[in-house]
């Protein structure tokens, strides 16, 4: 808790005294009578929240008044509440801390829904505070009233409607605890206007008591022993690692297991960077657009260790054909993820960070030279393809260029579509929490605002948003936010004038009937769009034009850069497992 003293002295009550430590501040504030708005701000400061993504409105004006001139809480005024939840989500994925959102009632609250659902599907810790009409008016169809608790119930880990100002502090502390622990997820707190206006007592009591909420962290030791035995004796073992590695900060522990055993490892979209791809054991991504060799390895393996992954249908393909020859071990913090889609032989419920070292301790390196020979042959015969041209920019080579110029060290944020898969395939991911993508919900419009949030949380790292011309237009207005706060996000638009993935499916499965997937006729001039916001805009249509603009973009450190990069209109993303096919039934290209 080595905090800069200057940051501990946020202004609450306008004239709060100076404090050296959070503890001192808490002791001083303990037992004080405050308005709900003051309790809100004080509790956030005590929880070491540094950034709030928000948008003001009638029901939260009392809270916003407390943020006026507040030096402790950094408030980022987003331009649409959906952008706010995506930004908070990107902040959370990149930093590991819960993302915080503050919006008003009614439309402010309903606009957060897509972002909350995105976070929920990928288990991202968010705390979303929504204003609400005064408690006496709830249910009367009051102005800007929406039953946001009801609307978000299926897409939140938990939610609260605050009915007593003296419960507000406890609720906020519980909300952060629930969001960030166990399997993380979004928590919504609905704040009726009277709850922030009336006064109550700030207790400074940090203890959270939730008798119904006790996430399991330590795996069952006899199950871990069984798993170790299976892996030690395996002839064709494979590790399949998912987003749990990032969320559980277990990248090192996973790497140690692989280093000891030399077992090949494939990661899901959410797991990319959780294991360094520069190491020889990495088979890169599996699934619908996974590598040929990863999908073959999972089909042929005899022992499969799933770590922090949930057997999503984009990963498994047709269930009957998924890894049919393997004994399956599954480590996951969420018991309901185990045997939900695929029956497993050895379930281990626990935190991957705690379970993996136990497993590494007990496992003996299996004898798998023959298995590696097979895999290496697959790798040689079916590598990922990168077409090159001097005349136009191929999307695969674009990602390789970005990978080179950032030395694989950037935080890469994808939107949803072909570019997302090209990024996943061709960037050199070597660091955890460095590939951010809406994997579960597949939210177009996620990429740019999430990159903005990631950059706010990581001012020292390069943050790249790779987006399509379709998805970018869903949230492009957040350029205003990035300009206002001087966030140097690099936005690479893979502009093919189409909803590329939709077009690819229409080409392959709907007889080239490109129904309503062409955008080119009315795409904006993205360079002028950027410039109109005060951002920098570049365009490239040949490899020769691309290099200088990437270099210039890397040098800009005080504003967003939009790169309109023209790519071939009808380039497809391969390999591809058609929907409903098994993983070894890949299409490898024209």
């Amino acid at each position: 808790m080595n905090q800069d003293i200057a940051t501990i002295n946020g202004k609450v009550n306008g004239d709060a005294p100076e404090f050296d430590t959070l503890e001192e501040r808490r002791e001083e504030m303990r037992g004080k009578e405050m308005t709900g708005a003051e309790i809100f701000v004080e509790t956030l400061i005590d929880l070491q929240v540094d950034t709030v993504f928000g948008y003001p409105g009638g029901a939260v004006l009392n809270i916003y008044d407390m943020l006026f001139g507040n030096s402790k809480l950094n408030h980022i005024l987003i331009r649409h509440e959906q952008g706010g939840t995506h930004a908070a989500d990107g902040y959370a994925r990149a930093t590991g801390k819960p993302g915080v959102v503050l919006v008003t009632s009614g439309p402010g609250a309903t606009n957060t829904v897509t972002g909350i659902s995105t976070a929920n599907m990928d288990s991202i810790p968010l705390v979303v505070f929504t204003g609400q009409v005064p408690s006496g008016m709830i249910g009367n169809d009051a102005f800007q009233e929406a039953d946001i608790i009801g609307i978000t119930r299926p897409i939140t880990k938990h939610s609260y409607l605050v009915k007593d100002v003296n419960q507000l502090e406890r609720v906020i502390r519980e909300a952060f605890h629930i969001a960030a622990t166990g399997k993380p997820g979004p928590v919504l707190v609905d704040l009726p206007k009277d709850m922030v206006k009336t006064t109550g007592i700030y207790t400074g009591n940090r203890e959270v008591r939730l008798p119904g909420y006790k996430p399991v962290t330590r795996g069952h030791s006899s199950q871990i022993a069984r798993a170790a035995e299976l892996l030690s004796n395996a002839k064709r073992p494979l590790i399949y690692a998912g987003g749990g590695i990032q969320l559980g900060d277990a990248s090192e522990e996973l790497t140690e297991l692989v280093e000891k055993t030399n077992i090949p490892i494939t990661t899901t979209l959410m797991g990319l960077g959780g294991f360094p791809e520069s190491r020889p054991q990495a088979l890169k991504m599996l699934g619908m657009h996974g590598t040929w060799y990863a999908n073959m390895a999972i089909t042929e393996c005899d022992t499969l260790l799933a770590v922090g992954a949930r057997f999503d249908d984009r990963v498994t393909g047709k269930l009957e054909g998924f890894s049919p020859k393997s004994k399956k071990i599954h480590i996951d913090i969420d018991p309901s993820s185990i045997s939900k889609n695929v029956e497993v032989d050895v379930p281990i419920v626990g935190n991957v960070k705690q379970v993996l070292p136990e497993l590494t301790k007990r496992v003996r390196p299996p004898e798998i030279d023959e298995w590696w020979n097979t895999i290496n042959r697959w790798k040689e015969e079916h590598p990922l393809q990168t077409p090159y041209s001097d005349d136009y920019i191929t999307p695969q080579s674009l990602i390789e260029k970005i990978s080179d110029i950032t030395e694989g060290k950037a935080i890469m944020v994808a939107d949803v579509g072909q570019h997302q898969m090209w990024l996943a395939q061709h960037y050199d991911f070597n660091y955890p929490r460095s590939m951010l993508s809406s994997g579960g919900l597949g939210t177009m419009g996620y990429g740019f605002p999430a990159a903005l949030g990631a950059a706010v949380g990581n001012p020292d790292r390069t943050v790249f948003a790779v987006v399509g011309d379709g998805g970018f237009q869903m949230t492009a207005f957040e350029l205003a936010t990035a300009v206002q706060y001087e966030v140097p996000v690099k936005i690479a638009i893979m502009n093919n004038g189409y909803l590329g993935m939709v077009r690819q499916w229409q080409q392959l499965f709907f007889g080239k009937r490109y129904s309503h997937s062409r955008l080119k006729q009315a795409n904006p001039d993205f360079v002028k769009l950027a410039e109109s916001y005060g951002a920098t805009g570049f365009r490239a249509s040949t490899p020769k034009e691309l290099d200088p603009i990437l270099e210039k973009a890397m040098e800009i450190d005080n504003r967003p850069v939009v790169m309109d990069i023209l790519i071939p209109e009808e380039e497809n993303c391969f390999p591809m497992v058609p929907a409903g096919a098994a993983l070894n039934e890949m299409i490898e290209g024209e």
Binding site: P154, Y213, P335, S336
Partner: protein, 176 residues
């Protein structure tokens, strides 16, 4: 856990389950439980919600059906909820289960005696009477209530209200 998984792999037959859930007494908790079933495509055959012996807690009794894999998911998903303290699938052990039904049935002078005989057979009670109808209170298993309704149907049922099952684990299960 392991035995559950094994069973799931082999048993695909559907059966009725009675699940007892101890939750925080709040309507948000009840909504979340009902929403879980509708959102994930699970069935609710009956549900009852009432306060328990501890203040602030309520017991929800749900009867549902499904194969082992579905029932296992239901139990796990319920358990995941922050407001849920305990989930007990009573089906795997001895338990007592009761439902109460109020059945308003046509009853004229000529049929009243026969209805009262039937009521006695089911150890039910007549709790209201008018010139044209009687209201019968039946308590028991779901089967018994269905049987009572079946027998009363011939007189013409006017209205029915059923509580859904409430259930508790049987404590004394006898010597082996």
């Amino acid at each position: 856990m392991e035995t559950h998984v094994k069973r799931a792999a082999t048993d695909r037959s559907t059966r009725k389950h009675t699940i007892s859930v101890l939750v925080n007494h709040s309507f948000n908790a009840l909504s979340r439980i009902v929403g879980l079933f509708s959102g994930r495509g699970f069935d609710i055959d009956s549900i009852s919600f009432g306060t328990g012996q501890e203040p602030g807690l309520a017991r929800v009794t749900i009867t549902t059906h499904g194969d082992e894999q579905i029932i296992e998911q239901i139990a796990k998903q319920l358990h995941k909820m922050v407001d849920v303290l305990k989930v007990h699938d009573l089906t795997y052990e001895a338990f007592v289960e009761r439902e109460l039904a109020l059945i308003k049935v046509n009853a004229t002078k000529s049929t009243r005696a026969e209805i009262m005989q039937l009521v006695n057979v089911f150890r039910a009670k007549i709790i209201d009477i008018s010139k044209e109808s009687v209201t019968v209170e039946v308590t028991g298993s779901e089967d018994k209530i269905t049987a009572a309704m079946g027998m009363l149907r011939q007189f013409g049922i006017i209205e029915i209200a059923r509580t859904g099952s409430v259930a508790l684990k049987r404590e004394w299960q006898g010597e082996a």
